[in-house]
Amino acid sequence: MTNQELYDLIACFERSSLGTLKLSRQDFSIELSRGGGTAPAGNAPIPAGVSAAPAPVESPAVTAPLVGAFYTAPAPDQPPFAPVGAHIKKGQTVCLIEAMKMMSEVLAPCDCVIEAVLKADGELAAFGEPLLRYQPC
């Protein structure tokens, strides 16, 4: 069961008038009960693929809006737009993607601090690939 299917099942349960639901498959089992917030004692087995403890939260990333070469700076001899630790305003350029000799500016989605630059200068960035991680502030 994929996570999406899991969410669908929970939604289905919520829409229903069921009090409990227990489901067990070969490599997977789940128990749902309604309201109260009291989880059944003794703990339902954790569904496969779903982490019990909260996953280490990854910071949000700016992703490549198109495939192209990733550049950290406006020119090789210029300082980078957004080095690690830089405080960046929403809408400020954080890097460039070059495709067919056209430079596209990639903008910060919010005020943030740059946590990591994920690609080397000049490297290929695929569509949707994370480029920089940031912490909103």
Binding site: L66, V67, A99, L124, F127, G128
Partner: protein
């Protein structure tokens, strides 16, 4: 030889190209949309790059993304496959301008073959038979009536700039022509901004016979024999064979020579196909169009000739000469292909994408499968519904038919409906077994075939 090829396509043809590259020790770069991240060829390629979202216009049709990916991954060539940008002359030119070998003919050759009326004129000049019709445009109803009388009804009125079935009208008699002329001209003006019309005799109950072409840069243009692709539903081919049962050796030779002239007339390079209509009399053939790419059904030609066409494309694009002559091309045995599509014939062929819950392909002697499916993968709703190509090769046509029946019995796909059962019914239909299918066969016999499938299903439920 080329070193690294960008495969600008998806699905089974992307895998087909990857295999040919791998066997020539060429590296491969797979490009994919977000919908195809789990595709088989993406996992097998030397390198894979996501080039855009699921929508083809923003990924597989996105020339900038493809050229950027090719440049940044160090490719020296682009293979366009079929569909998508494979017959886009501007893309061929853009590849060339970017210093990449476009694995196909020049942009100009694509343009010439692509323009219907220009191709018709050029073919006539090259001595390739075209459907009888008007000399050039018919600019008035009177011109059209005269031309129609000369060739005989029924006729087709066609927009010179036409395509996709627009700006075309059939006239069965003189009385229908004036109104049809006005309608078609108006539609052509509206659709293409160009109301110029020409007229052709309509070939009734034709067969679709096509010839495979290979041409290198050194002036060698060969054909690799014929295919019969008459089993079509609304111009979508379903079952293809090589060779065509209906051709006599003399006619095959004449058509093959005409196909070679057609390719030479547009300065062709690479693999291509010249399509003909063969009249119901089995004697007269007419140039229909030239497809400037590898075709879905190329495998049946490979099976009977033993020539790997995609390999030849890669060698030609590497600047090598063909290393065999027309006389050395021999056709042995008979090959049949069935296209397996994720569609439900009982529901008007509604596409049925889904996840492959169980998959077993037929195997054994004389069987070839080209497919990018694997158990657990999803067949995406964003692109065409072809799931697999099953091909067989046997000494005779009847043995090939029996082998294909056996293959369709073995083939098992759970997760979504396919047209496999329909193909199975066709393989038992007396008209098909006799080799008597014209392009009208499937559309005419579909109710009968579907009814038979329903009765088989009902029997099985009873058991």
């Amino acid at each position: 030889m080329l070193k690294r090829v960008l495969i600008a396509n998806r699905g089974e043809i992307a895998l087909r190209i990857l295999r040919a590259c791998r066997e020539l020790d060429m590296e491969t770069v797979a490009v994919y949309s977000t919908a195809d991240a789990e595709a088989l060829h993406v996992q097998l390629a030397t390198r894979s790059v996501c080039i855009g979202p699921a929508k083809a216009a923003e990924s597989y049709l996105n020339q900038d993304a493809l050229l950027t990916a090719a440049r940044l991954t160090g490719c020296d060539a682009v293979h366009p496959g079929y569909g998508f940008l494979s017959e886009n002359a501007d893309f061929a030119d853009a590849c060339k301008a970017a210093g990449l070998v476009f694995i196909g003919p020049s942009g100009d050759a694509i343009r010439m073959a692509g323009s219907k009326s220009a191709a018709r004129d050029r073919m006539k000049a090259a001595g390739v038979p075209v459907t009888p019709g008007s000399e050039g445009a018919v600019n008035t109803v009177e011109d059209a009536l005269r031309a129609a009388e000369a060739v005989g009804y029924p006729v087709l009125l066609k927009a010179s700039a036409g395509g996709g079935g627009r700006g075309i009208r059939r006239c069965n008699s003189l009385s229908e022509l004036p109104a049809a002329y006005a309608e078609a001209k108006a539609e052509a003006t509206a659709c293409f901004g160009d109301g110029e019309m020409y007229l052709e005799k309509l070939v009734l109950h034709p067969r679709h016979i096509e010839f495979q072409i290979l041409a290198d840069r050194f002036g060698h243009t060969l054909h690799l024999g014929d295919r019969d692709c008459s089993v079509q539903r609304r111009n979508q081919k379903l079952i293809e064979e090589a060779p065509a049962k209906c051709l006599t050796p003399a006619l095959r030779e004449a058509m093959g020579a005409a196909a070679v002239r057609a390719a030479q007339a547009v300065g062709y390079e690479g693999a291509g196909t010249v399509e003909f209509l063969l009249d119901a009399d089995g004697q007269h053939f007419y140039f229909m169009e030239m497809n400037t790419r590898i075709q879905v059904e190329h495998g049946v030609t490979e099976l009977v000739t033993g020539v790997d066409l995609v390999r030849e494309q890669l060698r030609i694009a590497s600047g090598l000469a063909l290393d065999f002559t027309q006389e050395q091309v021999l056709m042995a045995g008979h090959a049949i292909e069935c296209r397996i599509n994720a569609e439900d014939p009982a529901k008007n062929f509604q596409p049925c994408p889904g996840e492959v819950a169980f998959l077993h392909f037929p195997g054994g002697a004389g069987v070839r499968v080209d497919s990018c499916l694997y158990q657990g993968c999803a067949l995406s709703p964003y692109y065409d519904s072809m799931a697999a190509k099953l091909l067989v090769h046997a000494p005779t046509r009847l043995e090939a038919i029996r082998k294909m029946r056996r293959c369709l019995e073995e083939f098992t796909l759970e997760g979504f409906p396919t047209n496999a059962e329909l193909s199975y019914q066709i393989l038992y239909h007396p008209v098909f077994v006799r080799g008597g299918c014209t392009t009208a066969f499937l559309d005419e016999r579909l109710p009968e075939l579907l009814d038979f499938s329903r009765r088989v299903a009902a029997c099985e439920e009873d058991v």
